[in-house]
């Protein structure tokens, strides 16, 4: 079976993101640095998560620990979006309703005047 190009691209992002993740900067981000500097009050609230702070529990090597969590997160977000989009695509327009885009001029004046057939 031939693997489609988008799947290679997706796999590349999952693997590449995982490989790069251990080298992400640990410095505070813009919001965290402002909270520290301005002394903005913040309550510490524990938050349960399977892969907290992009770390994999139970993996000893720190690099592997970050890489696995990142790859799993990227894959989870991609698969969820893909599944949702496939469902939306199933509900989507029927073949006879897919139309070429409207010309800019027609859309600007009144968008209802173009696109797929609409009986008045």
């Amino acid at each position: 079976m031939r693997v489609p190009r988008w799947l290679w691209l997706l796999g590349g992002v999952v693997v590449g993101g995982g490989l790069l993740a251990p080298f992400a900067s640990p410095l505070p981000d813009g919001l965290e640095s402002v909270i520290d500097r301005e002394g903005i009050q913040i309550k510490s609230v524990p938050q349960a998560a399977p892969l907290p702070d992009y770390q994999t529990p139970g993996v000893a090597s720190p690099r592997l620990c970050a890489a696995v969590a990142a790859a799993l997160g990227i894959a989870a977000a991609a698969l969820l979006t893909l599944a949702l989009s496939v469902v939306l695509g199933r509900w989507g327009p029927r073949p006879e309703n897919t139309e070429t885009p409207c010309p800019v001029s027609a859309r600007r004046s009144h968008s209802a005047s173009c696109g797929p057939d609409r009986s008045p």
Binding site: S25, P26, A49, L51, D53, A77, A78, L79, C114
Partner: protein
């Protein structure tokens, strides 16, 4: 820019953001359920992967501060504002539920600040600029300006939310956040323009003005039974 639990403690502030996020994402799903074609699903998944990867790769920006790509404007440029809204909502939800990056009570706030601001406000600026400046240079300039704005406006909104939620000084947090995000916005602008440059070479059809605005403006299938 992910807001953790415990920062915005006034439930009126985060509940208002929840309502805005749920209604906007709900509208986007409903709208795209009439327009999405099955062959368009893969690009949605690929963009979600790109945005997730971009958001977890922090790079040092200035002394003691790091930043990362948001990707909302880039996604909106490739998929249109409403599909980008769906992608950003999924990414930010996974970050919160799987990685505890962004609090549960702040999920709506984070979807508004890092998602909707870029996919709807930033992309409106992007599309307006593309109308004024046609051609490849217009794509890059519009992408850079829209991306920079989406980061800085998002930061401003975080500051306003902190102020609304019982901070004694109204102006201070917003000013500090905007200043901290001016260089992070430049990173966003550079990465977005760079990515758009690659897309212009590899798949210019994805940036076709007609396609972008078609998804954005035109009701496609009202006659559907």
């Amino acid at each position: 820019m992910h807001i953790p639990d415990g920062l915005i403690n006034d439930p009126r502030v985060w509940l208002a953001a929840d309502v805005l996020a749920v209604s906007t994402v709900g509208y986007a799903i409903r709208r795209e359920s009439r327009r999405m074609r099955p062959e368009e699903a893969p690009l949605m998944g690929v963009m979600a992967a790109f945005v997730f990867a971009g958001q977890l790769l922090n790079v040092p920006i200035a002394a003691g501060v790091s930043g990362h790509l948001l990707g909302a404007l880039l996604t909106a440029a490739l998929l249109g504002p409403w599909r980008a809204t769906i992608v950003m909502a999924v990414v930010i939800s996974v970050q919160c539920l799987l990685h505890a990056d962004g609090g549960w009570t702040a999920l709506g706030l984070n979807i508004v600040n890092m998602g909707l601001v870029g996919t709807l406000v930033g992309s409106a600026v992007y599309r307006g600029m593309r109308r004024v400046f046609p051609g490849q240079a217009g794509v890059l300039a519009a992408g850079a300006v829209g991306a920079w704005l989406s980061v800085v406006l998002g930061a401003l909104l975080v500051g306003i939310e902190i102020a609304l939620s019982a901070h004694p000084d109204v102006v201070k947090p917003a000013r500090a956040l905007v200043i901290a995000h001016l260089p992070i916005g430049l990173l966003e602008a550079g990465l977005t323009a760079g990515a758009l440059g690659v897309v212009l070479k590899a798949r210019p059809d994805l940036l076709d003005y007609e396609t972008v605005t078609f998804k954005a403006n035109t009701p496609a299938t009202e006659a559907r039974p």
